[in-house]
Amino acid sequence: MCDQCGCAATPDVVRIADHQGAVSMRPVSARSVEILTGILDANDRAAAHNRAHLGRHGILAVNLMSSPGSGKTSLLEQTIDAVDGRFRIAVIEGDLETENDARRIRAKGVPAVQITTGQTCHLDAQMVHDALHALNLDAIDVLLIENVGNLVCPASFDRGQHANVALLAVTEGDDKPAKYPTMFRGADLIMLSKIDLLDVLGDFSPAKAEAHVRALANPAEIMRTSARRPETLAPWIAWLETRLAHSRAAV
């Protein structure tokens, strides 16, 4: 019986009001449909589109992730100086608010698009897609995407990058990979940043940090870098050059 008016409707009949307010009685059936698709499939398709689009231009796209304040923007600034024009860099900056980071990059003479996400804690594929429209892809070799500083949310969204880099500053705990396994399991390269502070602090063990990464079944290379010691960036620049050669060869 209908619980609103006491009519004789049985449970397999539903009252459907059309746009004119008329009510019809039609039989309904319950249906259970097996789906088995990824909840983020739409984002993954947009990411694949980005990757293909970047790939056609021979661009290497690298996504940088870390806690806030572990040195992503400083790394980018020093990377631009160290590369010194040998390949052309562009940067996409993700933050909740402000153009500050994009300004720092533009001051180095490199194109930068700032995505201000408002309250959103990560960059997704659509945001990166929109940002790509603001860049001249024929004038870029390496696209560096600085994600929102956050060890949780950015790990769940593909953006169309070719590689993920996670920074872990030695001012943080060496057990961060054990605390944030999704982030550090998915990293293709891990940088122990602010390495110049290692001896000053004394309580961060690079060996323990590496053991935590390996316990995530991640064989990623672990580099020790400091934006204040440009010579420590040489392996990172070489890593970018090797990857860039692959991206160009695949066009």
Binding site: A30, S32, I35, L36, C121, V152
Partner: protein, 123 residues
């Protein structure tokens, strides 16, 4: 938190499934989440309460199945269940393992009511 974004993606997939079956009323949604998807089930459930308003799933129940983390060892070939932050072989403790399950973020099933006319035309 990103669970609200995940919820909005979920509802788009649910709306797609409902449309494909000619339904305007979703009654139950079943998702499966592995610990390594980086999505918290309890937060997803709370986000769903907010996100479903005004959608085809406004009155739907959300069932969340938690999947285990399972790895297969490349050294000894054993398949074992592990904690999310310790993906070591349960038999020989090697870290050279492949993830078999645990990173899923899946829409498994949608239950809905279908009007007889629509049921006839969609099937």
């Amino acid at each position: 938190m990103h669970e609200l974004s995940v919820c909005q993606s979920l509802l788009r997939e649910v709306e797609r499934a409902a449309a494909a079956n000619g339904s305007r009323d979703v009654t139950r949604i079943v998702v499966a989440i592995g610990p390594l998807a980086g999505v918290d089930g309890a937060l997803l459930a709370r986000a769903f309460d907010v996100a479903r308003g005004g959608t085809i799933a406004a009155h739907a129940a959300l069932d969340i199945e938690a999947l285990p983390v399972r790895v297969r060892c490349r050294i000894c070939a054993a398949e074992t269940q592990t904690p999310a932050n310790r993906l070591l072989c349960g038999r020989c403790a090697s870290w050279q393992v492949d993830l078999r399950s645990g990173a899923e973020l899946l829409l498994k099933r949608v239950e809905m009511t279908v009007e007889a006319d629509a049921a006839a035309s969609a099937s």
